[in-house]
């Protein structure tokens, strides 16, 4: 069966719409570095509060990292249009980030919360943020990251103080550093191949 030129033109228009919608949804935003940066920031805050014995270790590190993230992100995403999904993801992380900041600041200044509870609360919040992001992005890799945080939150409730510290350090390594590096590789690969199959280069 042959296709008339008019029919072919209409098909081309339909194909153009599909191609452009796919192009529009494909962003080149990179967020893997923020996971690595915040993972390092947690390690710095832990080391500072442990060996420096300072109540300001967490708030100062979190504020510094927050400012750094904001400055770098605004430069990187300056020319990217905002999508509904992008705004939803930003809303989750801004909301959870603010909750974490208020909690860490209050907990470290008050000094009335034991380490197990502190780790459980932080890990549960990070698990929630990763899980919601993964469901929005339909990205199983990030859901695995959420499971790591949730498992850490649960384990911390049944641990001693020193065990809870180790659990937190391991969770940061896998949930922030390893996942962040994996995300950066995924983003680079998808930018190279111009595909958006995983949540790394989000739709």
């Amino acid at each position: 069966m042959t296709t008339s030129p008019e029919e072919q033109e209409l098909k081309d228009r339909l194909s153009l719409i599909e191609t452009m919608i796919a192009e529009g949804r494909q962003t080149t935003e990179s967020w893997g570095w923020t996971f690595v940066l915040w993972g390092i920031a947690y390690y710095v805050a832990i080391a500072w509060s442990t060996w420096g014995h300072s109540n300001f270790a967490w708030p100062v590190t979190m504020i510094g990292t927050g400012i750094l993230t904001g400055v770098v992100a605004s430069r990187m995403t300056n020319r990217q249009p905002e999508t509904t999904i992008g705004r939803a993801i930003s809303a989750i992380w801004i909301g959870v980030g603010t909750s974490l900041f208020i909690f860490c600041l209050s907990a470290s200044i008050a000094g009335r919360i034991d380490l197990q509870t502190f780790v459980a609360a932080v890990a549960a919040m990070l698990g929630a943020a990763n899980a919601i992001s993964s469901i929005i992005l339909k990205w199983k890799g990030q859901f695995a990251c959420a499971l790591v945080w949730w498992a850490s939150a649960a384990a911390s409730c049944f641990s001693t103080s020193s065990q809870s510290s180790i659990i937190f350090l391991v969770a940061i390594f896998f949930g922030q550093i390893v996942f962040g590096v994996y995300m950066m590789f995924s983003e680079a690969r998808e930018r190279k191949t111009q595909t958006g199959n995983s949540g790394a280069a989000h739709a």
Partner: protein, 112 residues
């Protein structure tokens, strides 16, 4: 790098009366499709995605703006000028109607 999207030398709205001639232009259709996926987009982003020239892109965006399908806003972000475009409700409706008309015209040939 995407293929440059250029306007055809002669559009044929007379042969395709059901299709909105403003949207039927290739570049204008590409622009509306792109804008349907984002809240707002910068001129430079649209230019990169369509691989078109400044003059052609500006002219086609003006036609869409005159038809009320897109809205333009100029602002300064960190002292740099930005020209932002977003799709209006009537633009979204017009694109939806256009796709419906295309599907009706193609009928069973759509999956051939």
């Amino acid at each position: 790098m995407p293929e440059p999207i250029t306007e055809p030398t002669a559009e044929s709205p007379a042969e395709l009366p059901e299709l909105n001639p403003i949207i039927h232009g290739k570049l204008r259709l590409a622009l509306l499709s792109l804008l349907s996926t984002v809240e707002e987009a910068e001129f430079t982003w649209l230019r990169a995605k369509t691989n078109s020239t400044d003059g052609n892109l500006g002219a086609q965006l003006l036609k869409l703006e005159e038809a009320g399908y897109v809205a333009m806003e100029k602002k300064f972000v960190m002292r740099k000028p930005q020209t932002l475009y977003r799709m209006t409700e009537s633009g979204r409706q017009a694109l939806t109607d256009y796709v419906q008309a295309l599907k009706q015209l193609l009928g069973s040939a759509i999956n051939a």
